[in-house]
Symmetry: C3
Subunit: 321 residues, 3 copies
């Protein structure tokens, strides 16, 4: 049976970043520590370090996401890597080439790192296992989102954000609000929070937007926003996908906002110093009110800034000599 997590080397070091599931707490903290050392780079006059000079990073996007691609592209460029963007919808995939043939082809160009986005869960794992088997660990993979499965750099940047503002994880109450069922971010966050010792993770959502047996992930589930937000330190709002809004799972966007949209009134139930997070892009007036999105407790843009540093950290840990 193949290993479920080809991301760890025999010596315990990170070979790929595929999922937060199974990452030891010490490794998560290590990544966040390295990220902290990159925060300053973005504030320098010359926002570059030469760590990945002459390395070839391929943004291999089988699903379009300008936003996510941009974060990895800018992170790689600030590490001085050579970056090539491949949007594979319009390319070899059309010509019927298999995923692994595409990967082999780019590997033969002496790729150092693949940043992989795919609509199908598990695609980055498949690629990583293939690379481990055939390229002696010379080529690394970062999962930039695979179907509903995970989005580990988003999970890590969320942890960076919480650690930055709350210092420690071990006393926190964290609420995750919204469409947990379809959210790769939610899955990554739940795994990370649990691993880092957060004693109470709550999921707040309508029944139709939660996977069955969600409690087995170690979280408390409630459909009641008021109950769920009571005294939390951190609120992680999830994006409501457009395609859900008028579908069978929800009555309407307006109805959703009434019950689950984060307003000042609902936020007042959380601790006074609670922070509000959102992975973006936001639907203002649907899952979050503008007064909250732009309010003093929102750390949504900090997440983005930290995200660049976290991606630089992951890339440099994987690739830098």
């Amino acid at each position: 049976m193949p290993l479920r997590h080809p991301q760890l080397r025999a010596d315990g070091k990170l070979a790929h970043l595929l999922t937060i599931e199974g990452l030891p707490a010490a490794m998560i903290h290590r990544i966040l520590d390295v990220a902290a050392s990159f925060i300053g780079v973005a504030e320098r006059d010359v926002k570059k370090v030469p760590l990945l000079r002459g390395k070839s990073v391929f943004n291999l996007f089988f699903e379009n996401s300008t936003r996510t691609r941009t974060t990895f592209e800018i992170a790689a460029k600030r590490l001085s890597a050579d970056v090539v963007n491949l949007n594979i919808n319009t390319s070899s995939a059309n010509k019927g080439e298999s995923l692994l043939d595409t990967v082999d082809n780019l590997a033969a160009m002496h790729a150092d790192l693949f940043v992989v986005r795919h609509s199908q869960s598990g695609a980055p794992f498949l690629i990583a296992e293939h690379l481990n088997r055939n390229y002696q660990g010379r080529i690394q993979v970062v999962n930039a989102g695979d179907g509903a499965h995970g989005h580990p750099t988003q999970g890590l940047l969320d942890m960076y954000t919480i650690r930055h503002f709350k210092k420690s994880f071990t006393e926190l109450r964290v609420a995750i609000v919204g469409d947990v069922l379809h959210s790769r971010v939610a899955r990554s966050d739940i795994h990370a929070l649990t691993t880092l010792g957060v004693p109470e993770v709550r999921v707040i959502a309508p029944e139709t937007l939660v996977p069955s047996g969600v409690e087995q992930l170690g979280v408390h589930f409630t459909t009641d926003m008021k109950k769920g937000l009571k005294d939390v330190d951190v609120v992680i709002m999830l994006r409501l996908q457009n395609e859900r809004m008028n579908g069978a799972l929800l009555p309407s966007a307006q109805e959703y906002f009434k019950h689950y949209g984060l307003t000042r009134e609902k936020l007042a139930l959380a601790k006074p110093d609670a922070i509000v997070m959102h992975p973006g892009p936001m639907n203002r007036g649907i899952e979050i009110d503008s007064a909250v999105a732009d309010g003093a407790q929102a750390v949504i843009l900090n997440q983005v800034s930290f995200g660049i540093a976290v991606r630089m950290a992951v890339m440099s840990l994987l690739v830098a000599p």
Copy 2:
């Protein structure tokens, strides 16, 4: 009331380049002088200067224009900046994110400069005001074309071209020919020419392709090509948009060429050393005859070369420390 031109700092320096309207003549000349210093860079063996090394330039194109994007991309790369291209049709805009949320997101990645193209007039102003309000002047905007409003770097490169070939503005007669109504170039040029002291600017066009009250911009208007071209020093031809050619505003492309297409015969009415300009892409045989486009008086490709230097000048004035 917000300032109409958030592009000027309190100290009179350039904070953004949004429009030529309101730019003092001294500032236009300053930009052209800096551009002149970059002309030589493109002729060197190594066409690069390190002025923007480690800076992050985002080409934020809400409207597709490979041609314009390329000019800014090459200019930024010759300044050694890191450039990221974002084509927002196919991205967050689809996901319903607001313009300013997109901007905040990229600003949080520590962007230094946004080159903005948008189909709606005023979008770059909105972005610049937002950045001024929220980022203490750390992030700059260049308008790369907003609706029918303006295209200031095109205006500036046109002024560079005229200054290069005619040395001085104060004795010139300049004719602008064609679809002034829909042309952002025409508006930018009229403002620049007037500011720089050109005593006579003529607009030559059919009635249907001129904004009502065009004379209030300080130009002379005529529908008569022969009268309009008489003794001019500079002819600026405008592109006839495909969508106008068979629309209600014009009888046909052939008819247009007959009356307003620049031929050798018509050009002979101008001064013998008159120069012919065009912002490109040209419709040969519609607004301009090939004999003129490729003739000795055409400076159309010089405009393109100067355009790179002008964009380097604008970027370095805005961003370089």
Copy 3:
């Protein structure tokens, strides 16, 4: 009458790379020798050399091909060039600008090298002749595939691969199998093999997929796979284009595989140390069986690696001072 091959300078040096047709054997060997010197670059820690620093390379793709574009982009970046990708379907071509006006425009930006892909045979020749006429040899062209005509860097990398594994060309039997009629690779390879002194080149294909008079190219033609593969040293498989598979030219993909698909059994007819090549992307189970594609005799991924070095060689021979 214009020269058919504007790619050679008066002094016999390479001015452009447009076609393998007419390239002297010595020049092919020279390119392969330079490529050999670049093989090591891709294995270094810093995979870059400064040969094209500050040069502007434009990937001018009038036909989409992410795969080919990527190979040139990575090659140019490893030479430290500034690379701009232009996909012209969605750009000026739509606005009705002529091919040569587009080229002039980019030339005026002080381009150093155009990598041109076009669906029409001869387009890169047209561009090269235009540049020779108007830019005194300052701007070079590499043909990255023009219609069914040619794909010279693919031909050169195939020669590199054969030379690498077989050392010499003068004793070889080479079989080219498949859709020769529509293959630019086949044409390039046949010219190169003949020029380099391969005594026996065989074309194996159904009658419907071979140009009439193919023997006039100096090859032996057979429809019989078994006869054709007998004792060959090199097998070059061609990709069966999707659009042929169910068209009038072929009964079906299954039928094609039965007769012309390369299986272990058929390959056993070749010499025991025969190598198997394919330009990619492969249709596994159609023109090639997976057991062969992944087998010990396949050098398909070596071709890709060598291809980067060959493209670096071509670019540096054309552009480096």
